[in-house]
Symmetry: C2
Subunit: 446 residues, 2 copies
C-alpha cells in the first residue's frame, strides 16, 4: 500500500477499501470484453459519507473514480481505467422508504432492481423498469445508464420512474435534485441530466422513485412465425390497432435455436421468429392480429404466462453459450422495424457473422447480438465491420445508436455520427461544470 | 428607429420586426400582473432562419432576448425586460409531420396545443399534455415551462411527451437533441434540460413529440361534497384503490361559487367541494368510492362528459371575474393533499385573503388563486404574506413551489428555500455553458 492508498484507507471506516490487486481486478470490468485498466483499489461504500470521503480524497489527489453497481453493463461504462479507484455502490442496499399512498420509494443505489419490484408488489404496486438483467442489476446502474427493459413499451424507461436524486459531486459536495411529488418544475432538470450520464457527472447515493399500480390481470401470448418479416408486421398491426401491450418482444431463429439447444423448448423446424406479448386485461385482440402466425399459445394461468416470458428471459444466457457476445442496442422508429430486421439479416450474411436478434419490438429497440469466437480477446474485424453497418443503417432510418445500454466506451467512436459537434461541445461544457478535474469515469459516455 | 433596430430589420425578411412602441408593448407581458420593461422591438419569427438571425444580431450587440409563445404564462416568464427584443414564436405554426404508425409529430413552437391534439385525433391518437390554457397556449410555451394539465395524472407532463428538439443557441448555432424513437440514451439528456428552462438556455424551433392512443371509452363523474376534507379523502381512496383515473380534479366552494355566479350551474348551498373524475373504461368504482358525497353525477354520453369537464375548464376565467388573480401552483405528495388544503383555508382566514383553490388532485398539484383588488398594481402585502405561508407549508410537507407553471420571476425569491446553494451554482454553471453572454431571458427561472 502506498501513501495514496493509505490516505484513502484512513479517510474511510475499516473494511471499506480493497487493495489486493487480484481482488481489485475482479471489480474492474463489466459484462463486455472491453479490456480494463488496473485500479489502485476498490472502495466498497456503505453510506453517503463513504462516497463523500472517497470523492474528496480523489479530488485532492486527482485520482480517477469509476463508479460501479453490479457490473452488468453492456457498453463498458464501468470498466476500470489504470490508476483509478473503483467505487462500488453495491453494498448500499437499503430501501429507505416505501410509501404506498404516495406510490414512491426512496432507495440506495445498491438495491437489486427486482428486489425493489418485489417489495413494491407487497403493496399492490410495482417498480416498472425491468432490464433483462433485473435480477442481478442495481438501481444505481440502471440510473447511470437510464436502463430500459421489457415493460418500457407501456411504462417508459428508468428516467420515467425517477422523481429525485441525492448526488455527491466530484468534489464531495452533496445535492438533492427533483422532488417527492408527481410533478415539479423548479429549476433545470438536473435529475434528468444525472440519469443516463454513466457516472460522469456525479455519484448517485439515493433515488426517489415512482412506483405504479401492479396490473390486476395480465394475459400473455406467444406466437410463432415462419418468417421474421411476418412477425415484424404483426408488431406493427398490434401497435396500429391500439392494443397497448405491456410487453411486446421478438426473437429470431438464431436466438430461438440457442434457447432450444439449451432448454429444449420443442422448437419447430419451420419457425423463424417468435413474438411474446402481454396486455393488461385480454390478449385476444393481439392473438387475432397475429394472423400469419403458424401457432399462437395463450396463457390461461400466471404460471403459464411466466413460462412464456421465461423463454424470452433465457435469450441472453442462451447466446452466451454460443461464444463471446457483442450485444448491440439500436433503436428505430417502430415503422422501420421490418426494414431494420431485414438489414441485420443481410449484413450478417454478407460478412459471414452470426447475429442473433431479440427486440423490444414495441419500442423499435433491437438487440442484434454478434457472436464471435471464445478464444479471441476482442471482436474480430468482420464483426466490427458488420456492427458499423448496422449502426449506420439504424441512423439512416431515423434511429439511435443505443436505446438503453448507453455509450460507455463501446459506442464512443460512432457518437459523432448521431450527435454532431455542437452537442459534443455542450457535453464537454456540462462535464466541466460538474467535474472540472475530470476525475469521474473519465473517457466514458461523451 | 435607431442603428440597433435598423440592423435587426435588415438582418430579417420584410415584415418580421415591430418597432412601434405601443404595439411592441402589447407583447411585453404574460397573464400575470408583473410590470414589464419596455422592449426595443418584437420579432415575429416565421422560420428557424429568422430565429438564427435574431440571436446572431442579439449576441453581436449584447441585446437581451425574451422568447415568447402565446403569453399565457402565469409566472412572469415571458415578461419583457427594458431594452430587450421580444422574440415571438407564435407564427411558426406548422405541424411538419404527423406519423401515425410511429405515434409521433414534428411541430413548430407556435402550434396551439389543442390544435395538435385535434390533428392527432383524426388518426385515433391524442397529444396528452393539456394545460388549462390549451386552447390558447402554444407548444413552445408548454415546452419552455414543462406545462402540466388535467390529463397528467395518467399521461405525465409535457416532458413525458417530448422525444427530441431543434434548438437555436444564444449565439445562433443550431442543434438537434434527442430522437424520433421511443427510447434512446446517446449522450446527456439535453432534451430534458431545455424543457422547462423557460427560454434561458436556447430557443426551441421544432419539437418531435410523442402522441398516444386516444382512449376508446371514457367515463366521467362529478361528485359534490359538503366538506373539502371529505373530497380530499375520496381522492386518496380513488388512488389507493388503483382506479387509474385519467383526470381527477378538485374545486373548492369559492371556485364553484365564482362559476355559479357566472354560468348558473345550480350549485347547492351546502356544497363545499366538487370532484370531477374520468377513467378509461368504467367510472363505477370511482363513483362508489365517493361514499361521503352528497350527490354523484355520472355521464352517459360524451356530451354529458364534456359538460362536466367544462365546469372545471371555466374555473380560471370565473375567478378572473372576481378581481386580479395571483395563481399559485404548489405540489405536495398525494397523501398530504388534505393537510395542504386545510392549511390553505387557515391561511386565507388568518390573513383575510380570498383564496379559491382548484387542484389536479390526482397529482397533489394545487392552484390556490389569491384574489385581490382590480385597482392595485400588484398584490397587496397580505397576499404575499399568505402566499409565503402557503409555499413554506408545501415545502414542509415534502412538496415543491411549482408543479407546472414554472419559476419565472414570481417564484424567484423562494427558489433557494427549495433548491439550496449547490443546485444554484450548478444552474449558473449550466447557464454559462449555453448562454455565456446572458442574453437569453435574463433574470428568469434560476
Amino acid at each position: 500500500m502506498n501513501d495514496l492508498t493509505s490516505a484513502l484507507v484512513s479517510a474511510l471506516p475499516d473494511g471499506r477499501v480493497i487493495t489486493d490487486p487480484d481482488v481489485a481486478d475482479s471489480y474492474a470490468r463489466d459484462r463486455t470484453f472491453v479490456p480494463p485498466g488496473r485500479p489502485l483499489g476498490v472502495v466498497l461504500a456503505r453510506s453517503r459519507d463513504d462516497v463523500v470521503a472517497t470523492l474528496r480524497w480523489a479530488s485532492e489527489h486527482r485520482v480517477p473514480v469509476v463508479p460501479r453497481g453490479a457490473g452488468t453493463g453492456l457498453a463498458g461504462g464501468a470498466t476500470a481505467v489504470d490508476g483509478c479507484v473503483v467505487l462500488s455502490l453495491a453494498r448500499m442496499t437499503a430501501i429507505r422508504e416505501l410509501v404506498p399512498q404516495d406510490e414512491i420509494a426512496v432507495v440506495e443505489p445498491g438495491v437489486i432492481t427486482a428486489d425493489l419490484d418485489r417489495a413494491a408488489r407487497e403493496h399492490g404496486l410495482m417498480y416498472a423498469p425491468d432490464p433483462s438483467s433485473y435480477e442481478i442489476s442495481t438501481i444505481g446502474g440502471n440510473l447511470a445508464t437510464n436502463a430500459g427493459g421489457l415493460r418500457c413499451v407501456k411504462y417508459g424507461v428508468t428516467r420515467d420512474s425517477v422523481l429525485g436524486l441525492e448526488v455527491v459531486l466530484a468534489d464531495g459536495r452533496v445535492l438533492t435534485t427533483g422532488r417527492r411529488t408527481m410533478k415539479g418544475v423548479t429549476g433545470y432538470d438536473l435529475t434528468g441530466l444525472f440519469v443516463g450520464s454513466e457516472g460522469t457527472l456525479g455519484v448517485i447515493t439515493a433515488a426517489t422513485l415512482r412506483l405504479r399500480r401492479a396490473p390486476r390481470e395480465v394475459a400473455t401470448i406467444a406466437a410463432e412465425f415462419t418468417s421474421l418479416r411476418d412477425a415484424a408486421a404483426a408488431v406493427s398491426a398490434i401497435i396500429a390497432a391500439g392494443c397497448q401491450p405491456s410487453l411486446l418482444e421478438l426473437m429470431d431463429r438464431t436466438t430461438l435455436q440457442a434457447i432450444d439447444d439449451w432448454k429444449n423448448i420443442g422448437l419447430e423446424p419451420s419457425t423463424r421468429a417468435m413474438l411474446i406479448a402481454q396486455a393488461e386485461g385480454s390478449a385476444e385482440e393481439m392473438a387475432a392480429l397475429c394472423e400469419t402466425a403458424s401457432f399462437v399459445a395463450t396463457s390461461s394461468t400466471p404460471e403459464e404466462a411466466a413460462e412464456l416470458i421465461g423463454i424470452r428471459r433465457l435469450a441472453y444466457q442462451a447466446k452466451e453459450r454460443l461464444g463471446q457476445c457483442l450485444v448491440e442496442d439500436v433503436c428505430v422508429p417502430r415503422s422501420a422495424l421490418p426494414e431494420m430486421i431485414t438489414t441485420i439479416e443481410e449484413v450478417a450474411a454478407r460478412h459471414g457473422v452470426m447475429i442473433a436478434t431479440v427486440a423490444h419490438a414495441g419500442d423499435g429497440n433491437l438487440h442484434p447480438v454478434f457472436v464471435f469466437d471464445r478464444g479471441l480477446a476482442e471482436p474480430p474485424e468482420e464483426v466490427w465491420a458488420a456492427a458499423d453497418e448496422v449502426f449506420r443503417a439504424a441512423l439512416d432510418l431515423g434511429g439511435t445508436l443505443t436505446g438503453e445500454h448507453g455509450v460507455g466506451v463501446l459506442k464512443k467512436r460512432w457518437l459523432d455520427l448521431e450527435t454532431g459537434p455542437v452537442v459534443a461541445e455542450l457535453h464537454r461544457g456540462i462535464k466541466q461544470v460538474f467535474d472540472p478535474l475530470n476525475i469521474l469515469n473519465p473517457g466514458k459516455a461523451i
